[in-house]
Amino acid sequence: MSTATVGDLVSQPYKHGFVTDIETEKIAKGLSEDVVRLISSKKDEPDFLLRFRLKAFRQWLQMEEPDWAALGYPKIDYQNIIYYAAPKQQEKKTSLDEVDPKLLETFDKLGIPLSEQKRLSNVAVDAVFDSVSIATTYREKLAEHGVIFCSISEAVKDYPDLVETYLGSVVPSNDNYFAALNSAVFSDGSFVFIPKGVECPMELSTYFRINSSDTGQFERTLIVAEEGASVSYLEGCTAPMFDTNQLHAAVVELVVLDDASIKYSTVQNWYAGDEHGVGGIYNFVTKRGQCRGNRSRISWTQVETGSAITWKYPSCVLQGADSVGEFYSVALTNHYQQADTGTKMIHVGPRTRSTIVSKGISAGHSSNSYRGLVQIGSKAVGAKNYSQCDSMLLGDQAAANTYPYIRSQQPDAVVEHEASTCRISADQLFYLQSRGVGFEAAISMMVSGFCREVFNQLPMEFAAEADKLLALKLEGSVG
């Protein structure tokens, strides 16, 4: 008889690893100005957007890929990527009955039913398949409240002025290498606009599903909340299992005006590569929110469990007086995954506050780094920041690193930073087992306990999913 050991823990295969057999239109590999023009014309875009893309592309050509992150990966051949792929159904369907049933089935399988009878109630979903939005639910109901929730491609046609005003205003195209690339070739993503004084009546959610193996995924999301408006938005992501790496370089921009708030939650479960580190998504994302208005608030909550490589720093620029930025994160890495993730809280206005709670769980041979910046500008009188970075190491081959940066030009600012590291000990595990708690359940209990503070920030339906997802992701991970 042998007690279940670390290695015996039943391996849970990535259940989203299937590929949908559907006709897809793709353009040839490679990136050039012609490709950028082609993308723009395929999407029938107005002139301002083509100029936006071309400007970004030219900037990208002048830039160099950054290499400062604690990540190791083979050089990306940008000419060996397809920059446009779309499932071969014509224009966006007005009724879900007209959407290719195989697509509906895909989302059903992923737990995101789109059909009338089965859809998630009180959550409007924009389903994006290979960077093309195929359906958005509850549009009429939202329209009654004046809320715009649609794909960026549609927003560009239906609300060009809004898009032109805000696109690139939070993340300028020359902000960084991947933002420039995204700005040149982005395909689709979500656009949300909440008008003055409106509290969005339902949760909004975009579900990103990558299906093709050799395309790059460049989503672009823009959310604007006018004065007194508020919205809670959730982003979910999965991809099939391929043995090559895929590049996912997304940009998310959030804008909140006076007294407005946006809560942005992400549960990311891109394919992470197999247990030998083969395959998996490269997830390089620029997410930034601007608290332009006084007393405005942006809250980022993320559960990152997938991707071979994760490189993202959801950030807040706290311009408005008394504005608040929050970042709650659980990043789990296993096998050979690498993550360099964190946040930047830039305090500009007076009495601005920021909270950072980062939980890293490293298992297998993975490497998990927190990188955070708290910057207090000279006008940020009375600014306050609280940061807490906790690492949990499972097994003895994993690594956890912390790179906190604090830059303050404000003598009366209060900046607190706490950090801790822990392991799951065999004694703790045995204690739980000796009380009838199974091995897997025990690990799950301890990891959940560790993540509790962050999971409590997620919308209720997704907190339970996050718990389960974390349990599934931990295989052979305790020493």
Binding site: M1, T3, A4, T5, C422, S425, A426, D427, Q428, F430, Y431, L432, Q433, S434, R435, G436, V437, G438, F439, A441, M445, M446, S448, G449, F450, R452
Partner: protein, 264 residues
């Protein structure tokens, strides 16, 4: 209470076990029937604690020969969580802290695992809270302990009382209490002893591992076993414990010297 026809709950036969390469148990023989209270005494290093861990299925220990039957079935082939669910309870000498895991949640999951095994319906959060608050009275613990993480920041006495609380919730058939009395002041000791005494009944059995007589003043054992060098050397009634108080363990060395050395 000794009833010769009571069901045999635990039957340990020639049990040999080691930790890493070190043999610790060298042929333990012990039978425990329902309704009985056994005391296991002996010096540090005699193997008392090891025996309790082996019975609970601690992964660091491996059984090299011998058998353990629990209610007639082979206990050693079961995972620790399964042993707990079928009614084997180990009260730890040094209960470990588990930060981040709420005591209430942990107790509820454990209790329900046991209930499920017995065919009883699981308790939801509310029903369980009622049950646990009632059981808290047995160990005189403040409900505030439920909100804390398992054993985190608990004093030694509080940890031991948490063990007894778990016993009260899990209702095991065989409770092995490893030096539950160590580190306790006289009041805490009394609470623990009363709790154990109240939980002991005609259908279950308790194995108290202890150094000292004082716990046995409060809980009268039916059998007292003296363990040394990985085996039970002598078995007697409650008077044996009193005798040990008087004489100490020196006689043990003499007796061991007379016995053949076992080649492990």
């Amino acid at each position: 209470m000794i009833r010769p026809d009571a069901p045999l709950l635990l039957e340990i036969h020639e049990l040999h076990a080691r930790v890493e390469d070190q043999p610790i148990l060298k042929g333990v023989n012990l039978s425990v029937r329902a309704g009985e209270i056994h005391a296991l005494m002996g010096r540090n290093g005699s193997g008392k604690s090891t025996l309790s861990k082996v019975l609970a299925g601690h992964p660091a220990y491996s059984v090299t020969s011998g058998s353990v039957r629990y209610r007639g079935d082979n206990l050693l082939e079961l995972e620790p969580e399964q042993r707990a669910r079928i009614g084997v309870f180990l009260g730890f000498q040094y209960p470990v802290e588990i930060p981040g895991v709420s005591n209430l949640e942990f107790l509820r999951v454990a209790t329900n695992a046991r209930r499920l095994e017995r065919g009883d319906p699981e308790l939801d959060t509310f029903a369980f809270e009622d049950l646990v608050r009632e059981r808290l009275k047995l160990v005189q613990m403040d409900p505030a302990f439920l909100e804390r993480s398992v054993n985190e920041g608990f004093s030694g006495g509080e940890k031991k009382r948490n063990e007894i609380l778990q016993m009260a919730l899990l209702e095991p058939l065989v409770a092995i209490l490893d030096e539950t009395d160590s580190g306790l002041d006289i009041d805490a000791l009394r609470i623990v002893a009363e709790g154990v005494g109240q939980l002991a009944g005609p259908d279950n059995a308790t194995l108290l591992i202890t150094h000292y007589q004082r716990l046995l003043d409060l809980i009268t054992p039916d059998f007292v076993h003296v363990m040394a060098a990985g085996r039970i050397l002598r078995t007697g009634g409650k008077e044996l414990a009193l005798e040990l108080e008087r004489t100490g363990y020196d006689w043990v060395d003499q007796e061991l010297a007379r016995q053949p050395v076992e080649v492990a």
